[in-house]
Symmetry: C2
Subunit: 516 residues, 2 copies
């Protein structure tokens, strides 16, 4: 690891990671690369089958034809989440072929990929750049991964590929339905997982693209979320994934009185602040609290007789109901969180699939995230300067990915409903263990014992001052939690950097160190 | 004009045009560039309005903000065909601002753009690279344009932009509906023109992109055929185009007995050759004869009780009827040729919009054109080696664009139903005036006095030998025509090259000279 330098957020970050030069975080909106996008090689139709049939017999044949070799970057996407059946096979094949030092570049990895720990140990895989939920995160936090992990947001991943920060040699795209030309979607088939947006950048910029499906249809596969014109090989297998496992987190509205209270307070805050008005827009992720916020929005909207212009998904059955009731004109969906979302995307013209390019890419000419009136997010920690952490737990272990969290911070109002403590550990701290989002972009913290508004948002403070809501300072909230739970012990780390956290513009906002 | 060299088709072509190096045609499928695609500049969301509203007051303001200056390349698309109301205004503004030496890069120009001849004369516009239908073609053929014209197919235009052969400074995209962020479509609004595929490359690769509409809707404009994430400025004007003029050529099935005969013979030939079978695919363009071929296909399909998997459009009411009758699973549409096409695209999920990228780009990983079982095209001339011309008339004047014609030659079977003579001038000649498509890709010529099959297509000769159809050699057809009309006088040209014809891979297949 190279020399460390203090970035604009005061974090010490390296100027080089895995042998590649890095730019330290300069502040939100400050870094503007004077550079060009990554330019893939020009292909020629004359190198592809004239009848359009690119199908090969096995994943192994496709990998060999794609030229799999040592040191390559293999990308994948996580629409099957914990139900992915393909990526373990891909690396089994790499191991069988004696390939070494691969960089795995998934949009996220899940507990089902714990199988790959053996390949991280034996050198088949050098490192993972992508979210590592669960066991792979723990493995990394224990300092056992050879290379250094790099975590990026969904938008940051698109940016990294578009800008050439990460050059993908072989992209693996797993689809519920495809034709042999490579047109593919996640909407149809027994293994439908919704959309394929997380694989969009891979399809556009990777040197070789392999589409794997268990449902080949005659050309054309309509709709094509992935365009066959970007695809090199197609493979038909027995089963690509377990769609019942795409279900994310809690998909039921919470019954916990604590969480219901958080959700209700959040909705009331939005109402008091004048955010819930005809034609407004919102994004609330998965998880019981977020779902409940959406449900309270629904009640308020019905009461007022208004509708939302759009809601950003992660879609789920509750959002679909609101669409079908006419309370929302459009769901702009980035990821289906349940099978009702998949159904709706297939059936409702108002249920629109988006991608990290449209929604989150910070190196585009604008993106959707900034246009959302209010976004409801979570956090593992928040500090008194409103900085947020979503990747490490209070014990210092890297256990979560960034997802779209950083990207969503550009919404007009960002609200984090969080419990004041979890397992008697306060969530509001002096300084977040890992800085993932700068406080200047986080507007409101809603806890069961009070709501803290970022002093930068004078408009929100003014709008809600007579609301009767328990508005407090964040320091007051922190003190209250510590009065109950005591001051939490900080996690202890060695000096060894095991992961870097990228900001949405590709700069390094923080690092994660090995847990002692 | 630089040194000339004989290309693989035996045509003398320059190694440099308008100061830019050129590659001579090497034969179909022979040229493979070892190069990278064009890499546009990286943008940053921080340079765009956070609320997503990119609207400026006037086209003039947008052009000034986009940095319009001497020598720039301004692109446009032709979905409004002869009903375009915008591009004349754009160049009026350029003239007013005293800008010189622009390159206009439309996907096609029409008689309504004759207004621009004054700017070609006064130096505001240096040259047009794109189809020049009618008066602009005549102006060019008279040697009056300062620069040299370059004609490309629809796929070749995508290729040229993708590969960086043409760098667009400012793209003008005119849409029936858009939001202020720049998401746009041609499906909705009073000025709906169908799809916006011809502007796709422009939106992806141009330095600055301006979307002009007369129907601003609140974000999000759904569907977005053009993605706002690629757009710099939006403008709302009173009226962008006259959709009633998008109607291409003849949109009624011909009543001419000669043309009906050609159509019937073509359909019978396809049937005899075994092409019309369950799950087949076809493309028949606009124009009375082509429409009639589709109609005969329809009868044969009904009789056989079969359906087509897809038809490629130019869509029109006849194709839409077949889709709605269930005779076609999908229309893969590149351009709506009438308002029924626009309606169907809005209403039918089986009416799918495509783009020159999906359908025609030769520098992709395959394209749709090659997968079509049979394509019915026209030609101004065909020669005894089956070479085809679609751009110059028998008098030598450049009067038409290439359209998708070159791209469609990659279909499995290419049939040209053409009259043996037009105005007593034979259509089959010893050598085409301008070589636009090499004979090796053209399979069948259908005339009212007989059908000639390319000797390369032994399979078709064999399949139709007992069909009772009047199969002849192309020489026989030519002789027959000359017996009736006499040997036609060849057009006379000066040495001056006024236009170059590009092949689908960006090489120069032929040039057009100034008419004497």
């Amino acid at each position: 690891m190279s020399k460390l330098i203090k970035n604009a957020a005061g974090r010490m970050v390296p100027l080089e990671i895995n042998g590649e030069k890095q730019v330290p975080f300069m502040g939100a909106g400050k870094y503007k690369p004077e550079a060009k996008k990554y330019a893939p090689k020009i292909s020629s139709v004359s190198d592809f089958p004239l009848d359009g049939n690119k199908q090969v017999a096995t994943i192994k044949e496709a990998l060999i034809k794609a030229g799999l070799k040592d040191g390559m970057t293999i990308s994948s996407h996580h629409h099957f989440r914990n139900g992915d059946l393909i990526m373990n096979q891909v690396f089994d094949i790499a191991k069988e072929l004696g390939i070494k030092d691969l960089r795995w570049f998934p949009s996220a990895s899940f507990p089902c990929h714990a199988h790959l720990i053996q390949y991280l140990e034996d050198g088949t895989i050098n490192r993972i750049e992508g979210s590592m939920n669960g066991p792979l995160g723990k493995f990394t936090s224990e300092g056992k991964m050879k290379g250094t992990a790099i975590l990026r947001s969904h938008g940051g991943r698109y940016q990294a590929v578009q800008d050439g920060d990460v050059k993908i040699d072989i992209a693996i795209i797993v689809a519920g339905t495809a034709d042999t030309f490579g047109n593919a979607n996640g909407v149809n088939g027994l293994s439908a997982s919704g959309l394929l947006g997380f694989a969009l950048a891979d399809s556009q910029y990777a040197d070789k693209v392999i589409v794997i499906t268990d449902n080949i249809v005659p050309f054309p596969c309509v709709p094509w979320q992935i365009q066959g014109n970007n695809v090199d090989y197609t493979v038909n297998v027995d089963k690509v994934g377990e769609p019942e496992k795409i279900i994310s987190g809690t998909t039921q509205i919470t019954k916990s009185p604590d969480r219901l209270l958080l959700a209700e307070m959040t909705a009331k805050f939005c109402d008091s602040a004048g955010i819930i008005k005809d034609g407004f827009s919102f994004q609330a992720g998965a998880g019981g609290t977020s779902l409940s916020v959406g449900n309270y929005f629904r009640e308020i909207m019905k009461e007022k007789g208004i509708k939302a212009r759009f809601a950003r998904g992660g879609s789920n059955k509750y959002l679909v109901e609101m669409l079908e009731e006419g309370l929302i004109d459009y769901i702009l969906d980035g990821q289906t969180f349940d099978l009702e979302g998949v159904r709706s995307m297939r059936e409702n013209s108002g249920h629109v699939w988006t991608s990290p390019f449209t929604s989150y890419n910070y190196h585009g000419k604008g993106n959707f995230a900034a246009m959302v009136d209010v976004v409801i997010l979570g956090a593992t920690e928040v500090d008194v300067n409103f900085n947020g952490n979503v990747v490490t737990h209070s014990d210092g272990f890297l256990m979560h990915g960034i997802g779209g969290w950083q990207n969503c911070l550009f919404s007009k109002t960002v609200i984090l409903p969080i419990p004041l403590f979890r397992n008697r550990i306060p969530v509001i701290v002096d300084e977040v263990t890992t800085l993932v989002g700068p406080g200047e972009l986080i507007d409101v913290i809603v806890t069961e014992r009070g709501i803290a508004i970022n002093p930068l948002r004078k408009d929100l403070i003014e709008a809600t001052k007579d609301s009767g809501l328990p508005i407090k300072t964040i320091q007051e909230l922190k003190d209250e939690a510590e009065k109950i739970c005591g001051v939490p012990k900080k996690p202890e780390f060695t000096d060894e950097i095991i992961a870097a956290i990228k900001w949405v513009d590709g700069t390094v906002i923080d690092v994660v160190r090995k847990v002692k």
